[in-house]
Amino acid sequence: MFSSSRKKIISTSLKGFRCNSQTAEALQVTNRLASNKTKPSQLKFSRIYPEFLPDPKIEFRNPLREIIERMDMLNRRRNVHIPEFYVGSILSVTYSDKHNPEKLNCFVGICIKREGCGLRANFILRNIIDSQGIEILFDIYDPTIQRIDVLKLEKRLDDELLYLRDALPEYSTFDINMEAEVLPEGSEIPINPIKVKLKPRPWLERWERKNLKGVQDLELPEKFYKRAAELADTTSQYDLMKQYMKTIPVEEQYQIFSEIESELNQLEIAQKKQKRKKSFVKPVKLA
């Protein structure tokens, strides 16, 4: 009994894999376990909505608060459509100004970081406007947010794009009046393989030590790379317990998302209906 249910969980979780270096391995495992399973679809949500998972740090856990927060998050999602997005996607956020209640602000930018869980989940948008780099940190469930649109849904090679702060401005400049690109339904999220060129030093962080994938050659003297190699953390990838403490076990993810799955699905369907309404333009009678 137990093993079969576990295999089911694995299979779904692997379905949730969309992209990264593990995809090939994941496919291998799915093929291996392909014999006996039906796929419940809860675990795909853990990638789309990671903020529904609780904080992995045990000190910050509080089961009751987590349940209430999840209810609040769903309530907020019923009022404002919060779409699926990832670090590297280009978003446009319309939010009201608390100092000027009648005015609506709109900010377009690339999501360079996504952090936090529960109601405190947030993301940072970056754009360069009038040759001035602007970054705004939005709380996803902030009630002043009126509307979030994904203009381009894609991922980048890294999990955080904070290095765009030290990159040439063209890499973080996005047109404010950008048209939204719509991905065909059911397609995989594309990964943008763009390699960014950084400005010469000084930088905000020592990027040569961060093991970045989406960056062109840093053009530093040899000693910098030597020092980076000295300080490189070669062992923590083998520290099984560190990994365990950074994540939420599959069984728990499964439980959380099976509770809210139907709600999330309903929200998705409602959103699709609305989209169709918007895209339908009434034909005009010609003379």
Binding site: L240, Q243, T247
Partner: protein, 217 residues
């Protein structure tokens, strides 16, 4: 403020996970710490039961559980899991044991894969820190050795134990009846002597005491 890392999927451990990892201060830093734990985990997989200091046993237990749970979840065709097994098991022939012996053994297991016992520390006991110098025994479940726990097979609710209890009671009642009969006979023979009365009274007083004992046992 963290977000759960969902790139790697792990099974839930069936043991209590400490909120913080022990540092095991070491001249080689974190690598040295892992090296220590690696030896213990290898030893555990090799011998299936080891005795060692409590802190290290407690720490190594979590790593051993993770290794086995990953082996069960992903199997031996998964590259990352194989790399982990290669790192954590120093004697390479034991990698086969992990995937071919331990995985089938624990596949349908609903409890933890290991057990940790606290055992008495060797004399003289030096208390340096709270659990320093405490000894522990760490073992894999389903090992071939005899159990370390006392045998708790005796159960008063088992039918033969109930029958035996009843037989004992009956025997005792019989004995009391005999004693009473004896004293009565003696009383009839020597009614006038005052010593006998004293004896009978002592007999009577002894009865309830013995009854009490029976109940407590």
């Amino acid at each position: 403020m963290n977000q759960a890392d969902v790139s790697k999927l792990v099974s839930q451990l069936r043991i209590k996970v400490n909120p913080r990892l022990r540092r095991f201060s070491n001249p080689n830093g974190p690598a040295g710490r892992l090296d220590k734990l690696r030896k213990t985990v290898t030893g555990l997989i090799k011998h299936e039961r080891i005795e060692l200091n409590y802190p290290r046993a407690d720490e190594a237990r979590m790593y051993a559980e993770r290794l086995i749970s990953d082996a069960i979840r992903y199997g031996d065709c998964h590259r990352t899991t194989m790399e982990m097994a290669d790192f954590w098991i120093i004697e390479k022939q034991l990698i086969h044991k992990l995937f071919k012996v331990l995985v089938p053994r624990f596949q349908d297991c609903n409890t933890s894969y290991t057990r940790l016992y606290k055992v008495p520390s060797p004399y003289p006991i030096i208390y340096k820190r709270e659990d320093c110098y405490r000894k522990a025994v760490l073992e894999l479940r389903g090992n071939p050795y005899p159990s370390l726990l006392p045998d708790k097979q005796y159960n008063k609710n088992i039918i033969h134990n109930i029958l035996l209890e009843e037989a004992k009671k009956e025997y005792r009642m019989q004995k009391y009846a005999e004693v009473v009969a004896n004293t009565e006979e003696k009383g009839k023979c020597q009614t006038d002597s005052p010593d006998e009365k004293l004896e009978t009274s002592s007999d009577i007083s002894s009865k309830p005491e013995s009854n009490k004992d029976e109940h407590t046992t």
